[in-house]
């Protein structure tokens, strides 16, 4: 099966950062599937499990930078949830690094690009398979 990295990107910042990246003609990994969501706070942990269950190697949740959530505290809640979910994964003997949060502003296309490639390399790389 081809490796897949799912990205839940919030429409206010992370998805715009992706568009910003597209303007710069930066190339993304083939297996990266971005999904636009209303807010990173809308990504519930059941979705993360579902994505992993269906074969995603990793899940990336992209939201607005800290303190800049369009809905005041959606990204904060997403971050806490991710922390707890990662603790759960670790307790079950799974690698917590398969689920990750990235907090980028709409103009930070290059940073998002860097983060995605870094995550992708860690997921598929020879030396650090998660």
């Amino acid at each position: 099966m081809k490796p897949v990295l799912i990205g839940f990107l919030c429409e206010w910042c992370a998805a715009r950062a992706l568009e910003n990246m597209a303007h710069k003609r930066l190339k993304l990994p083939d297996g990266f599937l971005p999904l636009r969501v209303r807010c990173s706070g809308a990504v519930e942990p059941a979705l993360l499990t579902e994505a992993l269950r269906r074969g995603a190697l990793g899940v990336l949740v992209g939201g607005c930078p800290r303190g800049h959530c369009h809905y005041r505290e959606g990204n904060t809640r997403a971050e806490i949830r991710l922390k707890v979910y990662r603790k759960l994964l670790a307790a079950l003997g799974l690698s917590p690094d398969r689920v990750r949060g990235v907090w980028v502003g709409s103009g930070e296309g290059e940073r998002l690009h860097r983060e995605i490639w870094q995550f992708w390399k860690e997921l598929t790389g020879e030396d650090r398979p998660l």
Binding site: E44, L52, R53, I80, R81, V84, Y85, L88, L92, G93
Partner: protein
Amino acid sequence: MKIALYNALSCGGCDLIFFLEDLPGSFLEDLEIVFWPEVCDHREEVLRNLPEKGLEAALICGAIRTRDQEKRVLLLRNKARRLAAVGSCALYGGIPGLLWEKGEGPRPVTEVVSCEVAVPGCPPEPKTLREALEALLREEDSGGKDRGPVCEECPRTRRPFRIGRLKKWGGEEVLSGDCFLARGIICSGPVTRGGCGAVCPGAGYPCGGCYGPLEDLAGERLLSALASGVLPARADEFLEGLVDPVGTFFRFFLARSPLLRLRKRRDEEDTA
């Protein structure tokens, strides 16, 4: 009416309620227990000598850990016309299912054979057992799927809340009569199927989730419900207080979690 009772991997608490509670009169009339290892016959020949579907019903408690238990359950499926899975272990893996946290654990009976009647609970409330047995006699399938969450039946006072530090059970929080979650004590009520009458919260103990998940991925949903209520400034405190995430979110249904299959798949790939 010929029936059989079998107990695989469980504590035996589900067997006890058969003695203690007033079962439906029509069920007890003309009842012949052919096979019940704890009480009467434990020889497998008794079952094997029966004709196919020779038993009216079989009641199975406990989860399946060994090859032997699996064989017995398959035999019972073959010999019994109707099968009832009794207790959380048989339905969701229950407490023994927590063995999965650190390795191989038992499977619920429902994953090995199909069951017509589900009797949830750890142990099931007498009322639930009675209703299920009546359904068994009426030839209906019963799973209690029409119920809402435990919170709907809970007598404690609900109010909006944010969570700071998690608290251990006990003291003033219990006596207050407020929702446990609002008081910082973890309670599985919101993600657990009702039907028990919320006896535990009513008696002052938070729900553990023994009546089974209301929806799939109930553990993740409880995690979401709790983590979303955490005060951002106290997130680290909350994380520190959450000593046993698996036992907290998946106490009775870890054996059914897709995350386990994920780990199993990885382990298989590692060995391959």
